[in-house]
Symmetry: C2
């Protein structure tokens, strides 16, 4: 196998198995070459990926070591992507009766939620979440893509009990905006005890749902290491029930035009 | 930029933007090099990817042309993956009261649903689906990953009406196993008229839900080009309400041991 072919095959293996620790022995066997050769190739790939600014090749030394690709996005690319998305979400025909914003098409489009997951993963990776938690239904794609980029499982809280979940923990919570009492449920099997969890959701208004998930996490003795929200609704003018969240976009009515619009929030520095 | 660095950057760009048509001009500008050089690099990458058997680099000639990476998985790798998954799903502690199989952890684990989406995409790509359709909740991750690998959006049918979906089409259907009348709903905005759709779901028992989705698709004049199911329940001994589906796994009670178990089905040849 020629060096170029091997480099391409190595890059492919690393990128399509993100977060997985792959040993030098694994590659040496697959490409029938010496570990030292693989090691040199990996140095080249690591440096190239660093220059592109889309992910990091982590090398773990020792007998149980190896290499793994940690996907991420650079800040500039993230900001351009979010500005484009905000513009798309500000189109007039997206406002539904009642002033609701239509986002369903966006939230189930992999070409949109894949980069969003990459952004959340880039922001929260340093908190070392072990699980990404969200609530059905529209938070699921965001949570799944974030979990994929972080290399951890996702867990989805449900609104009703299901026979296919086994024994469950349920809590009641008050939706902050509608003031209705609702129930959220999570199967005991779904989440172990004492995990570090990252909560991801698509929208925050009064924060009742987010507060509910945080309470439910306490039942599992989980440590909430982050709360990432795609969009906050700024038309809500009383204090939110949670305040330590990070939102990427803001939805509100412009003071100058009286029109609803979506804007990107100032991004935290995540590099 | 050295050739090796450029090859790595090209491979990265193609793999992380699957199904997107990228022009030679785009790469030539990004890497400040001649289109003819990029073209030679792409021939090398195409051949390498072909040898690995994980995806295909499609070249579209002409001024509006370019290159795009179509992810797929080779048959042998798919069969090994499904055999492993079947074994994992056959663990005793997965059987819940009532004989239900616990699959939630598997269905929300990106490391499992990403390869499953790749398998469905590899099987159904030749049918050229424009949209992947599923129904909440547990079908969502499978549908999303399949859509991602195919480069198309996903659309999720819901059980109840939501104010954030706009005007909707609803149908009533009879669940084949429980015989209860249920409702499924899809927003008018979610799916255009006359699309080619691929239906993906996690489980089929009597087929009432699948039949319901097919009926709902008729309301949108959609053409159902495929019906992919992760697992069929073979304990159901009357004819299913749909028969033209493709299932990857089979769940049933073994005649010899009386134990519930999951087995891989014989795979269609998809290469």
């Amino acid at each position: 196998m020629k060096r170029t072919d091997r480099i391409i095959a190595l890059t492919e293996a690393l990128l399509t198995r993100p977060n997985e620790l792959l040993s030098l022995g694994f590659f040496a066997e697959r490409f029938e070459t010496a570990k030292s050769t693989i090691s040199e190739d990996l140095v080249t790939i690591k440096e190239s990926l660093r220059l592109i600014g889309r992910g990091y090749l982590e090398t773990i030394p020792g007998a149980a070591g190896g290499v793994r690709f940690l996907p991420s996005i650079n800040q500039e690319e993230a900001e351009i992507f979010l500005a484009d998305l905000a513009q798309k979400l500000s189109e007039n025909e997206r406002i539904l009766p009642g002033g609701f914003l239509y986002t369903t098409d966006i939230l189930y489009n992999p070409a949109v939620v894949r980069p969003l997951g990459l952004i959340f993963a880039s922001i929260f990776r340093k908190k070392n979440p072990e699980i990404v938690v969200s609530i059905e239904t529209k938070g699921i794609p965001l949570a799944l893509m974030t979990a994929d980029c972080l290399g951890v499982p996702a867990v989805i809280v449900r609104h009703g009990n299901k026979v296919t979940e086994g024994s469950s923990v349920s809590i009641n919570y008050v939706s902050g905006s509608s003031k209705r009492i609702q129930t959220m449920i999570l199967g005991r099997k779904a989440l172990g005890i004492g995990k570090k969890v990252l909560i991801i959701d698509d929208f925050i208004k009064a924060g009742g749902t987010a507060k509910g998930i945080v309470s439910l996490m306490q039942e599992f003795e989980a440590e909430v290491v982050g709360l990432g929200i795609l969009m906050e609704d700024t038309s809500w003018d009383v204090p939110r029930l949670v305040d330590n969240y990070l939102a990427l976009l803001q939805f509100g009515v412009s003071d100058s035009t009286g029109q609803s619009a979506v804007k990107p929030k100032k991004m935290v520095n995540f590099n």
